[in-house]
């Protein structure tokens, strides 16, 4: 059980926190599996938090646009753009992790 979860952090960390963190995480993959399992879940949780913050920002600007308080039109358009990209990215990470897991579960023993 420790091995499949340990193999995933490399994917999550490389996409989640940028290039420098991605280089570090390759060492973690080669290291202990149990610690890696914690890292992946925390990376996923933090990227979900970030996604929620991005979407909340876009929602706030949408409310401002509706009430007429919005100062810059492009602020809302950019925030919406960013929220949609972040959603796409987090869903992509989730899909990659799930497909890796199912691939391993399908492995004949």
């Amino acid at each position: 059980m420790t091995f499949p979860i340990g193999a995933i952090p490399g994917i999550g960390a490389a996409i989640g926190t940028g290039g420098v963190a991605g280089i570090d995480s390759t060492a973690a993959v080669n290291g202990t599996g149990a610690a890696g399992g914690d890292a992946f879940s925390s990376i996923l949780a933090s990227s979900f938090d970030q996604l929620a913050a991005t979407q909340a920002n876009a929602d706030g600007l949408a409310a401002q646009a509706a009430t007429g308080d919005l100062k810059d039109v492009h602020d809302y358009m950019i925030a919406r753009n960013e929220a949609s990209l972040a959603t796409e990215m987090v869903v992509g990470i989730k899909n990659a992790a799930v497909s890796a897991f199912t691939e391993i579960m399908r492995m004949p023993i």
């Binding site: 926190t17 940028g18 970030q50 810059d72 492009h74 602020d75 358009m77 950019i78 753009n81 960013e82 990209l85 972040a86 796409e88 990215m89 992509g92 990659a96």
Partner: protein, 134 residues
Amino acid sequence: MAIFDTFGISGSGLMTHRKWLDAVSDNIANVNTVRRTDEDAFQQRMVVAEAIEYGTGEGGVRVARAEFGNAEGRLVYQPDHPLADEAGYVKYPDIDLGDQMSQMIMAQRGYQANLAVVERATEAYKAALQLGKG
């Protein structure tokens, strides 16, 4: 602003050019604002852009301050004007409409260029997210 930095940077460029457009529209709106000769003329509004150094972790640009143009204005002989002095002069702002029009074009093009960057960055990020899906 950790992953999609380009949006924040381009957003600051959009904001700066929007403020420049605001200043130009203010100048054009007041191009015929007449004052008495003993008052200051309407002063041309100018925005001063300042780069946000990339070493601080965020790039982009901001409007550092607004500068005001010549308060002397130019004296025009209009004896029928209700604000004219004894000699028949009123004070018009010292704003060149042609200069304002060219500034407006520059501000508009700058705004559009920043929008184009946002569009291209979105396309690029989307293409990156498609990586490995095929």
